[in-house]
């Protein structure tokens, strides 16, 4: 389960921010995960619950924003429906994934005494 390595990277990154802001605790962690990222939000939650003990995230709320995959034509920007062949039916150009592959730490809310 690679979600554990993703969560470890998340905790390290958050810990560095908490340290830089002299925070006593992390209250909210907001991440965005695309449905085409290869990362499963439910597994991220389980891994987060396991790995956060003893860190400043011990009581933090993890908010995961799921980002739908959007394929669009490179040439004419026409969006393609899910499951379609990834060529623009109008101009024949190969499509590009416009969003949905992100694994992003968006923002934090820190408690600073």
């Amino acid at each position: 389960m690679h979600e554990m390595s993703i969560v470890q990277a998340l905790l390290d990154r958050v810990e560095a921010e908490a340290e830089a802001h002299a925070a006593s605790a992390v209250v909210v962690v907001r991440v965005a995960i695309g449905t085409q990222s290869g990362v499963e939000p439910d597994l991220v939650r389980s891994a987060f619950d396991l790995a956060r003990a003893g860190t400043r995230c011990a009581e933090a709320e993890l908010v995961i924003r799921s980002v739908e995959a959007v394929w669009a034509c490179v040439a004419c920007a026409r969006p393609l429906a899910a499951g379609e062949r990834l060529r623009c039916p109008r101009c024949g150009a190969p499509a590009r994934l416009a969003s949905g592959d992100e694994i992003l730490l968006e923002r934090l809310e820190l408690e600073v005494a």
Binding site: H2, A9, S37, E102, I103, L108
Partner: protein, 236 residues
């Protein structure tokens, strides 16, 4: 302290980050990529299911006497069997034993490079852990992702594992000598690929009979030559 009313409660400070959780891996991957390019080495991330024929493909490549100098690292949860098979076929290889890790990351490959001189090589293959899920997430610094898909896996694997196939620069369809014995159509596999890869590139072959291996070897040679041309163009 809360600055609004001085009540003594701790203040909540919002911090905007907007950074990929793979940023650390991607930094090491960039370093690996520079290292490969500096030596004119074509680096491949060879992925696919367990048993899809990744090692057999490399063995067939060695038998084809390509003239390309190839070395490899093989990632497996346990044993160094793949690396030993490659060594026996004439491809210098080491293994990365991952324990319970389901994929290789850029740091593991970086570490492996400390034991593998790139000077004098043309192609360096990272044979990833057999898995259609986790390896797709991690950039290793490769020049191309090659996904090995055997016809025995059925027609719908690309639709079930779209992330892996979306990131493939080439799909090598293996074990085609078995097609007469299976209810599997190549057209259906290629249709599934067209729904996961914007520009599907497929080479069908049998490592056992050698059918189609020459097209894979030609692809390798062309990618390697393209690398040198790209470096020359960038330097001019």
């Amino acid at each position: 302290m809360c600055e609004d009313c001085g009540c003594g409660d701790p203040a909540l400070v919002p911090v905007e980050v907007q950074e990929s959780l793979l940023a650390g891996n991607d930094r090491v991957a960039r370093h690996n990529r520079e290292h490969f390019l500096e030596h004119g080495v074509l680096a491949l991330n060879l992925m696919g299911s367990p048993g899809s024929g990744k090692t057999a493909l490399l063995e067939a490549t060695a038998r084809a006497h390509t003239g390309l100098r190839i070395a490899a690292v093989s990632g497996d949860l346990a044993t160094d069997r793949d690396a030993r098979r490659l060594e026996a076929a004439g491809i210098p290889a080491r293994s990365i034993t991952t324990g319970s890790a389901c994929h290789l990351d850029a740091e593991m490959v970086h570490h492996a490079l400390h034991h593998q001189a790139l000077a004098g090589l043309d192609v360096f293959v990272v044979e990833n852990v057999g898995n259609l899920v986790c390896p797709a997430v991690y950039d290793l610094g490769q020049n191309a992702n090659v996904v090995v898909l055997s016809v025995t896996e059925g027609e719908d694997k690309p639709l079930k594992y779209p992330v892996m196939f979306r990131k493939a620069d080439l799909v090598v369809l293996t074990k085609i000598d078995l097609l007469p014995h299976l209810d599997v159509s190549r057209a259906a596999i290629e249709d599934a690929l067209a729904r996961t890869m914007p520009e599907p590139a497929v080479i069908a072959l049998s490592a056992k009979t050698g059918e189609g291996v020459e097209r894979w070897v030609a692809w390798l040679a062309a990618r390697h030559a393209g690398l040198a041309a790209g470096t020359a163009a960038a330097g001019s």
